[in-house]
């Protein structure tokens, strides 16, 4: 018959209930023998009466002759025991509240035993058959559901309680729920166990003599090894305030005494599930962190194969991202390695060429004697370039200990003070650009009537040198240049700085293949005084100049996009989009002709890239990409 137990189970139930009752009554009677305080006597007598009431109710529901008990009867018995149990708890609380004096330790211990025995009364479950000793029985418990159902997840649990009875009740229940259990009798031994074993959960009593629950909790939370282990505080109902303190300090939950088996199971399951989800989340975040770390390594050029191997094994989107990322990073590295080799080879070639043909001796005041101190601060090391605007030197900044580039400016470029002021403000603005693709300008100064700029020194070669040495560059290197150039323009345009003179001479490639754009803010100087007759002297040719700039019309940041188009055209095709014998003829062509598409020169050039370059060269700025950020996007679609 469903819902009824066997005679053996009834006997066990009587045993489970009467054992704590034996303690309640026995300790009570013994304490009464000694009690002299009237209030103590009253509380003890009331406790004893309540204990006997409990006995009566047990005997009424489960008499010694009874061979079975239904679920409903058992539930009714539990309900019937609540009231006298409440009386015992209330009276023992009163006995433990030391009213105006210290409690005798033996007395206190005995009263606590009465209390814990009373608490145990309501944790008794309807016994089940034990394998081997009784025929198997299945009981659908009305409150507990399938009380012996396997746990959500078996866990390794530490029970910390100084009361032996509480410990053993908890241990028994937890083991029955499929968990493995260790127990500690106090705070110190709990911390020792936590140091020696990995636990999934800790059940921690609040009140303990050597080191209380709060102190244990605080130490656990301060230690990274134990910080993430969830803690459920065990407390009597009259100890709510200290439970609140524990939860404020990081305890997950609390479990009131007496332990209700249903509540115990539910809280532990919830806690373990929460921990499981948190562990999953933490692991996910750790792996996201690995991908981010890998991205940083790619940027720094230190990405190692296999660092994402673990993440790549995941079956989810993150795993997929890691696999794609790893493949891309390896491609990028291979490309960078090739580029580095090319750059190194080119540097050697250029160095040799320079050795054999030193430029013609210059230029009066513009030249700085090498080996001497300039402006009281810069030790001039060597000349590294010369151009329409002046000379460029490599120098050691003795104040900062860094190498810098010093560019001297021809005096006629800065003839009047208003020009100087405008130039200075342009340089100040350019200094606000923050990008690894922009050569940083440090300062502007004047020495013996010669203005000079100091800027970041970059060891590398210009794209001009690259083109002159190698001819056209092919699609992949051009794309790499395009993307970095576009990023530098994004940063500059954001600050309201238009370069005005993007050309291969101003694009430096360092040893790592990183492109850096020079002379932001400087071209204003050239542009401000340039006219067509001086073009050849100042900025080479107007080949990189947008139509609107040539015509002296108003223009905006999109002239830099046009110039970028010319540079990319040159890199891909190996020559300029428009060539002519004179400046006037060139201007006519720039204003009138459509450039031949790069793909016509070389079918290997992807059509989309060719189209983009042609679009950058549009006569009407509105036909070009709207801004550098859009160019970055369009380029990333190509790669």
């Amino acid at each position: 018959m469903s819902g009824l137990t066997t005679p053996e189970a009834v006997a066990e139930l009587r045993h489970e209930l009467r054992t704590p009752l034996n303690l309640i009554i026995g300790y009570c009677e013994m304490l009464l023998e000694d009690a002299t305080d009237q209030q103590q006597r009253i509380a003890l007598e009331q406790t004893l009466t309540a204990g006997r009431d409990v006995l009566e109710r047990i005997n009424a529901t489960v008499p010694p002759t009874r061979g079975e008990i239904s679920e409903a009867d058992f539930a009714a018995l539990r309900d019937a025991l609540r009231e006298p149990q409440g009386r015992i708890l209330t009276n023992t609380s009163a006995l433990l509240a030391a009213d105006g004096g210290a409690i005798d330790p033996q007395f206190e211990r005995d009263v606590r035993r009465i209390r814990s025995s009373a608490e145990r009364l309501l944790t008794v479950e309807l016994p089940h058959a034990r394998s081997g000793s009784h025929p198997a029985i299945t009981i659908e418990h009305p409150i507990h559901g399938a009380a012996a159902a396997p746990p959500v997840q078996p866990a390794h649990i530490l029970v910390v309680d100084d009361q032996e009875d509480n410990r053993s009740v908890l241990e028994r229940r937890l083991r029955r729920q499929g968990h493995t259990v260790e127990s500690a009798t106090g705070g110190r031994s709990a911390l020792e166990l936590l140091g020696a074993q990995q636990f999934d959960l800790v059940l921690l009593d609040v009140m303990m003599p050597d080191l209380d629950g709060l102190a244990v909790l605080e130490r656990m939370k301060a230690d990274s090894a134990t910080r993430d282990i969830p803690v459920i505080m065990i407390s009597a109902l009259d100890d709510v305030a200290s439970v609140v303190r524990c939860i404020e300090r990081g305890a997950e939950d609390h479990l009131p005494k007496p332990f209700d088996p249903v509540l115990l199971r539910a809280r532990i399951s919830a806690c373990l599930e929460k921990k499981r989800l948190r562990d999953v989340e933490l692991e996910y975040l750790r792996e996201v962190g690995r991908v981010i770390q890998a991205a940083i390594q790619v940027e720094a050029g230190s990405y190692e194969n296999g660092v994402l191997a673990q993440v790549a094994q995941r079956g989810d989107e993150l795993g997929r991202l890691a696999r794609v990322f790893d493949a891309m990073a390896n491609q990028v590295r291979a490309r960078e390695d090739r580029l580095k080799e090319q750059v190194a080879a080119l540097r050697r070639e250029i160095g040799e060429a320079r050795q054999t043909s030193k430029p013609a001796a210059p230029r009066g005041k513009l030249s700085l004697p090498t080996g001497e101190l300039f402006a009281g601060r810069f030790e001039v090391l060597d000349e590294i370039g010369s151009g329409g605007m002046g000379m460029v030197y490599r120098a050691l900044d003795r104040e900062l200990g860094d190498q810098v580039a010093i560019k001297t400016l021809r005096p006629e470029l800065l003839q009047d003070t208003s020009l100087v002021e405008r130039f200075k403000s342009e340089i100040r603005l350019a200094r606000t650009i923050s990008s690894k693709h922009v050569v940083r300008t440090h300062d502007i100064g004047e020495r013996d009537g010669v203005y000079y700029l100091t800027m970041e020194y970059v060891e590398g070669i210009t794209v001009r040198e690259l083109l002159d040495t190698r001819g056209r560059l092919g699609t992949a290197p051009t794309l790499a240049i395009a993307s970095q150039l576009a990023q530098s323009l994004v940063a500059a345009h954001e600050q309201g700085v238009i370069h005005r003179d993007i050309k291969p001479q101003n694009l430096l490639l360092d040893a790592g293949g990183v492109l850096k754009v020079m002379d932001f803010g400087v071209a204003r100087l050239a542009g401000g005084t340039a006219n067509l007759t001086e073009v050849g002297m100042l900025v080479g040719t107007p080949s990189y100049m947008a139509p609107e700039q040539m015509m002296g019309e108003s223009f905006d940041h999109r002239i830099d996009l046009y110039a970028t188009g010319v540079v990319l055209y040159e890199c891909l095709v190996g020559k300029l989009p428009f060539e002519a014998n004179s400046a006037v003829a060139l201007i006519a062509r720039v204003l009138r002709d459509a450039p031949p598409a790069p793909a016509l020169h070389d079918p290997e050039i992807p059509q989309a890239f060719s189209d983009l370059v042609v679009r950058l060269l549009a006569k009407d700025p509105a036909q070009r990409p709207a801004n550098a950020a859009e160019l970055v996007r369009l380029l990333s679609d190509l790669s």
């Binding site: 009834v10 009587r14 009752l21």
Partner: protein, 125 residues
């Protein structure tokens, strides 16, 4: 002073009952399980044994049988009172059959238990 051997696995039960008996003038020795109870009983020197029936490993019924077997060889018989919280009808008979001289239930009614102890000790004397 009569000496009682209390065989009881529950620490609190041991503590409570031994202290109550001591207050009544008995000397109490403690065994924590059936096996220890049998060993201590075989050494002699006890006037009476209080045997809890629900013990781990070796339960009270079996422990009692073994004590009786050992005594059969030694020619003495210490009175044994069975204690049980099961307190089912038929338990008394079962206890007697296992070799107990009397039987009492938990919760212990001390006066009733003392009556039984004194009665058995008196008989013995």
């Amino acid at each position: 002073m009569p000496k009682i051997l209390l065989v009881e696995d529950n620490e609190m039960n041991r503590d409570m009952l031994s202290r109550r008996l001591a207050r009544k003038g008995y000397e109490v020795a403690l065994a924590m399980d059936g096996l220890q109870g049998v060993t201590m009983a075989s050494s002699g020197g006890y006037d009476l044994i209080l045997m809890d029936m629900s013990l781990p490993e070796l339960d009270g019924w079996e422990a009692t049988r073994r004590v009786r077997e050992a005594e059969a060889g030694a020619g003495r018989r210490v009175p044994i009172i069975a204690l049980t919280a099961h307190a089912m009808s038929g338990d008394r008979e079962k206890a007697m059959a296992a070799g107990c001289d009397d039987y009492d239930t938990k919760p212990v009614e001390l006066d009733r238990l003392l009556g039984k102890i004194e009665s058995l000790l008196g008989k013995q004397a």
